[in-house]
Symmetry: C2
């Protein structure tokens, strides 16, 4: 499979954010896992290339989820009555404590991986728990789905229940070292470790410093949380008074972009200084609108980020967000941007559909390289979507069909096939 | 069917809004279309009553959709880039014009009715178009689903495209008279006409006055739109300067509660005077959170309405809202109430899950009588939901299961059976 073939169908993507580019009944070339171009008909030189004909289906880039907690998937859609800090104590930490038990981890992560496999997501940045073995088990399952992911063993050495507090900074860092080594030894082809200090409230300065060393040794990327909730932002000022702002608290330890490729989730309350630093360091922002509603956090100033040329993708943030669906994340992002415009900043034009689509594909995809679009040379991640399960009495343009499929959540039930780096879902990449 | 039986399963409802009441593995008695009580085991006197055993399924009251436009269903999930008045001109009116063609109406309404049939909705207040025959066709289809509904032929005699503007007030009113007569003649058992002036911008004073006469003659209920969008509210001041506020514009013509049982959709920008009048006249508010996000209208002050003891239900408002799912409406209502608290009024506590569930069932149900709860004497509308399609590794309480089913939208794919006034979906009520 992972050689040369065409997908035939209605090819839709967003090379630029202002327009959904559509090609009706066109041919999308895959060559060794990369996009080789979009053609109205196979060029003469490529006549022998096999064609996988998906008829009237929509062919979209795979979705990129820049922020999801695998260990929270089990209780998604419950416990939506608290804000962040209380929610962590009441629902999240008790559930994450269960992953000390390998049998539980296996049972829970199997369910998570199965859901991800069925989703439109082809790339993800994933949080596990503090537990090394459980997180390796998660990586085993994700590798099996074909999804390309970064997975982090979480670090926490303070301000959590005893069962979730690692002994001290050194032991947390050393365990992370062991986790990274073990992950490398397992020889995954699609599943990579990422440094995952939970957030500053649960990470001492000593821990951040030690992690910084681990990071440099293995050139690891980083994922964490930033400026999600007003109380959280206040707490940082108490916990780390020497930091100029929340993000500076990571940056002081070399865990905020620059050499350290970094995703920061949320950025709802980032100050002008923090935003300037995010831009300067090239940090990716994972915008998580559902979570920011469910935990009453607020609405991130996404227009400012998008127009300011920052690196932005979308995150489902299960279980702050209730679903792994990136189609849902797209429409949530649009909807909250309309309320932000209405209630907070009348100069902040709401996100358009194509902008949101761009964020969910090419925006987040850039964290993984040339990913999230069908431009030539991009890695070949594609989702084949059958939208005929939602009948309609009138003609629809392809643009309408894509918008409708996303708003109606046809990623549930409508995904007919998924290709990741040119490999069909379910097939092993071993033949490459 | 429509006689005496038990449903066995996990029975969950909200007799009061502050608590989801659950009964594990219990027996819910149906007697002649009404609830006869919830029992741990069949009482001795009722041992001969047949039991429909739904095992571990959830048994919930049927959902009540207080505001949905059947004629907009075809383009739901598309065209989400405009505010109300522009959206009507650009998307809604062109689509509604198609319903002049009976063949189109039949095709489109068949799709709508099929979707409603598959949904968790058992009661609905539905907008058609200005077209009498098309709206009767819609009623035929809805009658076939078993759903109990009010359906309105829309009235508009100004400020719309020519194809959607009725000739004048008298002809619009006379056509409505004909519509009501025809509906009565068809002998529906579950489908009733409702007076449906679209909103004041498209209804002249003469039309409202003439409709008031039709209303009184047939004792019709009324549905319309109120204070949805700031520009719309401004427009009313220009169009009807003598009205003290938007709702007064309806009230001056006897179309605002009191004798006229009335649903007003939205009420996002209702003034204190308007709210007082809504309470005084006992008008039902249809809160439509998805629509209010999609059209960037804003967020209705739902806490004020709920705590103030107003009559409130939820509406999907397709196609301002993108989906007919009332599960989705429930979670949207909670989510926007959190943003309202965060950005607009820190004294307005967000909706709890049980409050939102109450609005979607008993709150809206009260428009239909004793509907939306399993209390004794209430009409027997029940949905049997199999939530096992979303596996989980840990124990869940019944409360968690209901919240999860709603947040995950398990109304799609999870509905195993639906009973309306004691009649099983798909069975005709003829035996009653």
């Amino acid at each position: 499979m992972n050689d040369t073939f065409f997908l035939k169908g209605n090819i839709c993507h967003t090379p630029v954010k202002d327009r959904l580019d559509v090609h009706e009944g066109a041919y999308l070339l895959c060559e060794d896992g990369r996009c080789g171009g979009i053609f109205d008909a196979p060029p003469p030189a490529l006549r022998a290339v096999p064609v996988l004909d998906y008829g009237d289906c929509l062919i979209l880039p795979g979705m990129v989820d820049l922020h999801i907690h695998a260990s929270q998937f089990a209780y998604r859609g419950t416990g939506m009555d608290e804000q962040l800090l209380e929610w962590l104590q009441k629902y999240t930490f008790p559930e994450e404590s269960r992953y000390a038990d390998p049998a539980y981890a296996e049972r829970a992560y199997r369910i998570f991986a199965d859901a991800m496999d069925k989703s439109a997501t082809t790339r993800a940045a994933v949080f596990g728990t503090i537990h090394r073995d459980a997180t390796l088990c998660l990586m085993d399952f994700l590798e099996g789905t074909g999804i390309i992911s970064y997975v982090g063993k979480v670090n926490m050495d303070r301000d959590a229940p005893p069962a979730l507090t690692e002994k001290d900074a050194d032991s947390s860092a050393f365990d992370t070292f062991g986790f990274v080594n073990a992950a490398h030894k397992r020889g995954y082809r699609r599943t990579m470790p990422i440094l995952t200090p939970r957030f500053i409230p649960t990470c001492s300065d000593e821990l951040l410093s030690a992690l910084s060393e681990v990071r440099r040794a293995y050139d690891l990327p980083v994922q964490s949380h930033l400026s999600e909730n007003p109380e959280e932002v206040m707490l940082i000022k108490l916990l780390m008074p020497e930091a100029a702002f929340y993000g500076d608290g990571y940056d002081r330890f070399g865990l905020f972009g620059g050499d350290a490729r970094t995703i920061m989730a949320h950025c709802v309350y980032s100050s002008a200084e923090e935003i300037a630093r995010i831009r300067e360091r090239g940090v990716w922002i994972a915008h998580c609108p559902a979570s920011n509603m469910n935990l009453a956090s607020g609405i991130a100033p996404i227009r400012k980020y998008v127009d300011g040329g920052l690196r932005v993708g979308l995150g489902s943030d299960v279980a702050g967000g209730q679903t792994e669906s990136m189609f849902r994340a797209m429409t949530d992002a649009i909807q909250v941007s309309k309320l932000y415009w209405r209630y907070h900043d009348h100069s902040a034009r709401p996100l358009s559909f194509s902008e949101s689509f761009y964020l969910a594909t090419k925006g987040g995809g850039s964290f993984f390289g040339q990913v999230g679009s069908f431009e030539e040379g991009f890695e070949f991640d594609a989702v084949v979507l059958d939208d005929s399960l939602a009948p309609h009495p009138q003609p629809l343009t392809l643009q309408d069909r894509v918008e409708r499929a996303v708003y109606l959540g046809l990623d549930r039930g409508g995904i007919r096939e998924k290709f990741i780096r040119g490999v069909k879902r379910g097939l092993d990449a071993g033949t490459s």
